[in-house]
């Protein structure tokens, strides 16, 4: 059966995102533990989970402020890390185009790597995506609730999770699994190979700029390969 034939329900969104929680739970705990052990005001750092709600940039805020960095640099680093959401926003906008403003505001607040990727994986074509917004919001709220609970738990636990467990490796494993599922054709493979290679080569750039440079190179390479292979 074609999966898009049946209209997606709330449960479908929760179910689609639940395996990803295996990666989000340790990420949230690690953020909490990092924050608890850093020299930063803990209440404001805890509040970043619902004010910013973007894990990698929250960790960067703690790292910069803990190292005695300037507030301006901390915010700039967060903006650079989260700039990829601009692309997700451009893509999700096609799904939410006919929604009222309140639901667009909610959809924007809940935008994350994981919610975006499970939704576009389940609904590759925005013009044939009945129920996709409901699916996306269900996935997004599940991720949101998990993030609030695990970051809070991590702060309360402090250093109780031994570093030797290497739990943080669950995060790249999640991205690798999503990557394996996202590469569907040769241009997509080219985008991944170039994106990954450039990001590694650019790993020494300040403010985590390598992520942006790698992503932009990967997209350009994918589009070029598409032109050649046709």
């Amino acid at each position: 059966m074609d999966r898009t034939e049946r209209e997606a329900t709330w449960t479908d969104g929760v179910r689609a995102v639940s395996p990803i929680l295996l990666g989000v739970v340790p990420f949230g705990l690690i953020f909490g533990v990092t924050a608890a052990n850093a020299d930063v005001p803990i209440l404001a750092t805890w509040a970043s989970s619902f004010i910013v709600f973007a894990g990698a940039s929250q960790i960067a805020l703690v790292e910069v402020m803990d190292g005695g960095g300037a507030a301006f640099i901390a915010v700039l680093t967060a903006i650079i890390i989260n700039a990829r959401h601009l692309m997700y926003s451009a893509d999700m906008g096609r799904y939410t185009a006919n929604e009222p403003l309140t639901s667009k505001l909610g959809a924007a607040y809940l935008l994350t790597d994981q919610a975006y990727l499970v939704t576009t994986h389940r609904f590759p074509d925005p013009s044939n995506a009945t129920g996709s917004v409901r699916f996306y919001v269900a996935a997004g709220l599940t991720l949101w609730a998990t993030w609030q609970m695990t970051t809070t738990t991590g702060i309360l636990l402090g250093a109780a999770i031994p570093a030797s467990w290497s739990l943080e490796f669950a995060i790249p494993l999640t991205f690798i699994a999503l990557l394996v599922l996202a590469v569907k054709d040769k241009p997509g493979l080219v985008a991944a190979v170039i994106g990954g290679s450039v990001a590694v080569a650019a790993v020494g750039l300040p403010y985590h700029l390598g992520l942006l440079v790698g992503t932009a190179s990967g997209i350009a390479a994918g589009m070029t390969a598409e032109g050649w292979l046709e």
Binding site: I79, S89, P172, A199, G222
Partner: protein
């Protein structure tokens, strides 16, 4: 107090980034070039997130750690099962095993 300002500024900026195109779309047609580019976001950004985390953990190039074989095991698990959970459930113990053997 500074941390509150940092968190709120980062929050406002992040929300603005997330809302920009979601808020704009429906008001104008999407250019075809942008539509083509959107198809390569997922593979490009995921590789740019995952590959440095495996080959250069903590920002230092170190391609010969136990992370690479464990990542390959996790990737193969995801590929064969089409499941994200499998990558973690198999990849993480693979890392523990490799670190224990080392």
């Amino acid at each position: 107090m500074t941390m509150w300002i940092v968190v709120i500024a980062a929050g406002v900026a992040t929300f603005s980034i997330r809302f920009l195109f979601i808020g704009l779309f429906g008001r104008f047609a999407i250019p075809p070039t942008l539509e083509r580019a959107l198809r390569y976001i997922a593979p490009a950004v995921l590789a740019a997130l995952a590959v440095p985390a495996v080959l250069a953990p903590g920002g230092m190039l170190n391609p010969w750690s136990a992370l690479l074989p464990a990542a390959i095991v996790g990737g193969v698990a995801a590929w064969t099962t089409k499941s994200i959970g499998a990558a973690i459930v198999i990849g993480l113990p693979a890392l523990w095993l490799l670190q224990w053997l080392a």
